[in-house]
Amino acid sequence: MSKFDVDEVLVRKLAQLLKDTGLSEIEFESEGRRIRVNSGRISTTMSGSMDSSVTQVAVPPPPVASQPEGPPAGALTSPMVGTAYLAAEPGAQPFVKPGDRVTKGQTVLIIEAMKVMNPILAPTAGTVREVLIADGQPVEFGEALMIIQ
C-alpha cells in the first residue's frame, strides 16, 4: 500500500482550476483514492469556520496486487527485448544527449536483439529531457528509454 501523502502537484493544479473556473469545490475519486478541494469562497460569505480545506481521504485500496507505475509522460518505451546502445559503435558520439532537439523519425538509440541492430526513432519532434538507460544496458519490452518533450 502506498504511503499516505498528498500529491502536491495535483492539489496546486486543482486550486488553479478552482480559480480559473470560479468553482467552489472539486471532488474527484478514482481507484479507491479520493481528493476534495474547496475554495472556501462560500464560507467567506458566512460563518468563517468552514474548512477552506484540502482533504485527501485515503480509502483503503482493494487488496489487488500492486500495479507497476506507468511510464512517465513523454517517455519513449522499448518496443522489444534486447540490449540498448546509445551510440552507433563503441567510443562513438551518442546519437542524442539531454538537451538535444530531435526531429520526428530521427534515430535516438539502437536495440540489439538476436544479433540484429534495430534503430529506435524519435516518435515526435522535441527536446531530449532525460536518457533513462546506460549504454549497453539490457532492456525489456515497455521499459522507458528516454524522455522526449
Binding site: P62, P63, V64, A65, S66, Q67, P68, M80, V81, G82, T83, A113, M114, P138, E140, F141, G142, E143
Partner: protein, 446 residues
C-alpha cells in the same frame, strides 16, 4: 547441470518448472507479457523479463523476444513448458543455434510427431499399434470410398494437420461418407489452411489411455505406466487418473514395453506421452505429445518420480536416475483441472480472485499460480489450478478428493469446481465405467 534456466511459459506450469529448478539449485528467469507482470512465477523467479504485450503471438509465441531475453540474462537453457512453443521445431532449433539448451526432445522428433500422418507412419515403423485406415492423405472421393470400405464402417475422417476436434467427421455408412469427407476438408482448410484429410476406423466406446515415457541421451528409455484421460469435454481433458480402472497388469506391462521400445528405436531423449484409444483390450495410437503433459502430476504421485526434475537432468546430458525395474506404481492418484469458467455454460470467467484457499493435508497436492487478489487475465486459457490427490486405493483417493474439493475456495470468479463435485459423485465414475464420450453425456443430462 544448468546454472540458469529461462522458463518460456506462464501460469501454473511456469510455477511448476520454477519449483523444480529451485529444488535443483538452478536460478530461474521468468519471461512474461505485460498482462502477467504480477504473476506468482514472476514474483518468485530470480529474474524476470517482460517480453511483450498480452497477445500470445507478441509475447509467449515471440521467439525473438524469448531468445533475446535468454541472451541478456545469460540463461544456459530454456524450458518451453506446455503449449506455446513447446512443440515448435523451429524454436527448438533456433534455441540450439544460439548455444542454449532446449529442454525437450530433438527438433526432428518434434517435426516427426507434429504431423499426424508422419506420426502415424512413424508409430507403425516403431511397432506401435495404430487405428486401421488410410495409409496417408485421401487422394479423392474414390479413394475415400475404397478405404472406408476396407476399414469398415463407422469411419472417422480427420484433418492431417488437425487437433482439438477441428476437421473431424464420422460416417456410419457409405451414404454419409461424401458429405462427411467434404465437410472435414472444408473445416480443415479453414482451421489449418490445409485440406489434407485421412480416414480411420471409428471406435464407438474407447477410453483415452496414455503412456508416460522418459528417455535420456544415453539410449535409456523408461515408461511410467498409464494415465486414464477419458473424461473429456470438447476434446479437453477435465479429470485424469492413474492407474486406469480399465487396465490390468498384463495390459499395462505390454503397452508400456511397446512404447518404451519404440522410443528406444527412435532415440527419443526427453519426457513424452504416447496417447492411445483403448477398446475391447486393444490399443490404437492417437498421437504423441513430445513435451510435458498438464496431467504429469498424476504419474508423479504414484511413482514418486519428479518428472520435471528428471526432464531437466536428462536435458543437461545426465543419465536417467532410475531403471525400468526401479519404477513401482504405488496407490492411486486423481487430478481435477480447475478452470476459470462457468460450471454450467463453460464460458470463461476471468477477473480478480478475491479469495484463494487451497485444500491441504495428507495426500493432497495443489499446483496453482493463484493468490488472493490475483487477476486472471482474459488473454490465455482458463486452467487456473490442478487439484491432485493420492491414496493407497482408488476408493481412498476418491474419498480424499471429495473432502479436498469441499476445502477449495476460489472467490470472485466462477470455476468448474461444482462440476467436479457432481462428477465424482456419479455412480459410473465411482465404478470406473466411463469412456471418452461419457462426460459429454453426463454434462448434457445433468
Amino acid at each position: 547441470m544448468f546454472e540458469k534456466v529461462l522458463i518460456a511459459n506462464r501460469g501454473e506450469i511456469a510455477l511448476r518448472i520454477h519449483r523444480a529448478c529451485r529444488e535443483m539449485g538452478i536460478r530461474t528467469v521468468a519471461v512474461h507479457s505485460t498482462a502477467d507482470a504480477e504473476a506468482m512465477n514472476v514474483r518468485l523467479a530470480d529474474e524476470s523479463v517482460c517480453i511483450g504485450p498480452p497477445p500470445s503471438r507478441d509475447s509467449y509465441l515471440n521467439m525473438a523476444a524469448i531468445i533475446s531475453a535468454a541472451t541478456i540474462t545469460g540463461a544456459d537453457a530454456i524450458h518451453p513448458g506446455i503449449g506455446f512453443l513447446s512443440e515448435n521445431a523451429a524454436f527448438a532449433q533456433m534455441v540450439e543455434d544460439h548455444g542454449i539448451t532446449f529442454i525437450g526432445p530433438a527438433p526432428e522428433h518434434l517435426i516427426m510427431m507434429g504431423d499426424k500422418v508422419q506420426a502415424k507412419d512413424a508409430a507403425k515403423r516403431f511397432g506401435i499399434p495404430v487405428v486401421p485406415g488410410s495409409e496417408g492423405e485421401i487422394t479423392g472421393e474414390a479413394d475415400a470410398k475404397r478405404i472406408a470400405g476396407e476399414t469398415g464402417y463407422p469411419v472417422l475422417i480427420k484433418a492431417a494437420a488437425g487437433g482439438g476436434g477441428k476437421g473431424m467427421r464420422v460416417a456410419t455408412s457409405e451414404a454419409e461418407l461424401m458429405a462427411a469427407y467434404t465437410m472435414a476438408r472444408t473445416e480443415a482448410k479453414a482451421s489449418f489452411g490445409n485440406d489434407a484429410v485421412y480416414i480411420e476406423k471409428y471406435l464407438s466406446h474407447p477410453r483415452h489411455i496414455e503412456i508416460q515415457i522418459i528417455g535420456d541421451s544415453h539410449g535409456n528409455v523408461v515408461h511410467l505406466g498409464e494415465r486414464d484421460c477419458s473424461l473429456q469435454r470438447r476434446h479437453q481433458k477435465v479429470l485424469e487418473e492413474a492407474p486406469s480402472p480399465a487396465l490390468n497388469a498384463e495390459q499395462r506391462a505390454r503397452i508400456g514395453k511397446i512404447a518404451a521400445d519404440a522410443m528406444k528405436t527412435m532415440g527419443y531423449k526427453s519426457v513424452g506421452t504416447i496417447e492411445f484409444l483403448f477398446q475391447d483390450g486393444e490399443f490404437y495410437f492417437i498421437e504423441m505429445n513430445t513435451r510435458l503433459q498438464i496431467e504429469h502430476p498424476v504419474t508423479e504421485m504414484i511413482t514418486g518420480i519428479d518428472l520435471v526434475r528428471e526432464q531437466i537432468r536428462v536435458a543437461s546430458g545426465a543419465p536417467l536416475s532410475f531403471k525400468q525395474s526401479d519404477v513401482t506404481i504405488d496407490g492411486h492418484a486423481i487430478e481435477c483441472r480447475i478452470n476459470a469458467e462457468d460450471p454450467e455454460t463453460f464460458l470463461p470467467s476471468p477477473g480478480r480472485v478475491t479469495d484463494f484457499h487451497a485444500a491441504g493435508g495428507l495426500g493432497v497436492r495443489v499446483d496453482s499460480a493463484l493468490y488472493s487478489g490475483y487477476r486472471v487475465p482474459p488473454n490465455y486459457d482458463s486452467l487456473i489450478a490442478k487439484l491432485v490427490v493420492h491414496g493407497r486405493t482408488r476408493n481412498e483417493s476418491l474419498m480424499r478428493l471429495r473432502r479436498a474439493l469441499e476445502e477449495m475456495v476460489i472467490g470472485g470468479i466462477k470455476t468448474n469446481i461444482p462440476l467436479h463435485s457432481r462428477l465424482i459423485a456419479a455412480p459410473d465414475f465411482i465404478n470406473g465405467a466411463y469412456d471418452i464420450r461419457w462426460l459429454e453425456k453426463f454434462v448434457a443430462e445433468t
